[in-house]
Amino acid sequence: MNAIASVRDALTRNMRQSGILIAFVAIVVLFAALNDSFLSPGNLTNLVLQYSYILILAIGMVMVIIAGQIDLSVGSVVALSGAVSAAVVIREGMPWWAGVAAALLVGLLVGIWQGFWVAYVGIPGFIVTLAGMLLFRGLTFLVLDNRSLSPFGGTYYDIANGFLNGWLGGYGYDVFTLVIFGIAVVGYAVSQWRSRQGKIAYQQSVESLPMFALKLVVVAAVVMWFGYQLSTSRGLPVVLIILAVLIIAYTLVTQKSVFGRHIYAVGGNRHAAELSGVSVRKINFWVFVNMGVLASVAGVVFSSRMNGAQPSAGEMFELDAIAACFIGGASTTGGIGRVGGAMIGGLIMAVMSNGMQLMGVPQSMQQVIKGLVLLLAVAFDIWNKKRAAVAR
């Protein structure tokens, strides 16, 4: 294979991933051009706060989808975990961490319940979680006795609405926020450099040094610019830290761990995975347990943001999370998808909602546009696959 062919090969393979990134940048540029306040510090902060729970759900959802399943119950699990947390903190007057613990326990139990039916009874995830969607919504109504519970206040409220700032001073900008972003950029650069050195040591192919440096500089510039914008507004949102930790951890789990590799294998060819000694049941079970726990994390963040629990909380969240995954390049047949892709897919949805709201686009039109974007993204995926098949 000559150099040109290998470049073409790399492009074809990465087209879905890079295509979605280009689309994201284009959408951001479009809204920035249409609306002055879109890239303002206040609005960027708002974006993070407003869509963090969808992104948290999308992390778990993309793993479920890679395994070849789907989870329709996450919206109801968000509601139920938030409701239990509210009952513990508001009704029983217990401390904030007891509410968080109770919510996470709910998520764990939900995950075990659904994982059991999918993995050990063999009911498709679609059916189990469709039942779960009704079941956990009903339980939410029971827990809340059909009424809203509010307010949480205090530390619990700060989970989704709090900021870290002022610790290192600064005039008009928060130094602490900038320091954290600086550490993140340096950490990213170091890890990229080490992985590159490791690849060279094992004679793996790597991008050329100028390309590598360019990539680092672009990423660093974008991240630091974003950090600066936040620092001139209200500082570092707590929920952004939660989100960043989850994204890094789950990128590692999906790309670098044996468990992650096996999720891809089960979604790609269940039978081959089984013959290779992968326990398909265990993988399915843990994927759903993981989804349940992440849904409860989203439930904590959402109830904190709403400063209370409502019986109808989290409705349609499952669809936003699923859409984020498919826009982000996950395959409907399983085996393909990335946490990073799902995050960009979720951000595309978030940026579009936020941008259209700023411009005063009516809710009805927003739904139409988001629906079309989802359709086009998956159509592009299918077209891309067919083209690759012909090229072979």
């Binding site: 290998s6 294998a265 013959l275």
Partner: protein, 248 residues
Amino acid sequence: MMPPAPHRTPLLALHEVSKYFGAVEALVGVDLEVHAHEVVALVGDNGAGKSTLAQVVAGVLSTDAGQIEIDGEPVTLGSASAANRLGVASVFQDLAVCENLDVTANLFLGRELRNRVGLLHEGEMEVQTRELLERLTVRIPSVRTTLRQLSAGQRQAVAIARTLIGNPRIVVLDEPTAALSVAQTGEVLTHIQRLREMGLGVILISHNLNDVRAVADRIEVLRHGRNNGSFPATASHESILAAITGAA
């Protein structure tokens, strides 16, 4: 190729093995021996029990009667992984690979190497993958190519290379050339010869007598789940065909 001396203990020996699916007799009292450095071909008509026998050896199916010995020791091949631990590796028709994973990931699937912190040791796995593919003389653009982008022949080569992870002594190949072009078939047969040179015992299941005669040391015929003749590779096409169809 040296003919197996009678006093040598075979790597794998099946004695009077039977398998029933309800009232259907899939295998009835089948005997089979495989030595190191030997390619044994299993041939027979559709439904003769070839694949059933392969799955028994691979540990996927349990037997209803009979004995299986490895190195002269009676063993139970309870599952595919149990068979694997005893040194039996298998490639099944169409089912052996994950098309969404790359070559390295497929080779090490279920037996991934981990680094000090318990994550995947990609570098080491790639090095071993390259070595293995070289030994088998498999030509693939990169060990990071996803299987979806490979030809059917290359995928089969990956499936065969896969079996060599974990140093097996017996390799079972179920119709490895069934869906391949002439050129690709030739390459796969070369890989099989490499397996023999490495000192493995190979069970090759095939419909294609030409393929079988090109590479096998011994040809065992199954008919209606029973042994129906054992032939050297030099036996005439007609005599083997007669044993397969029962026209003799």
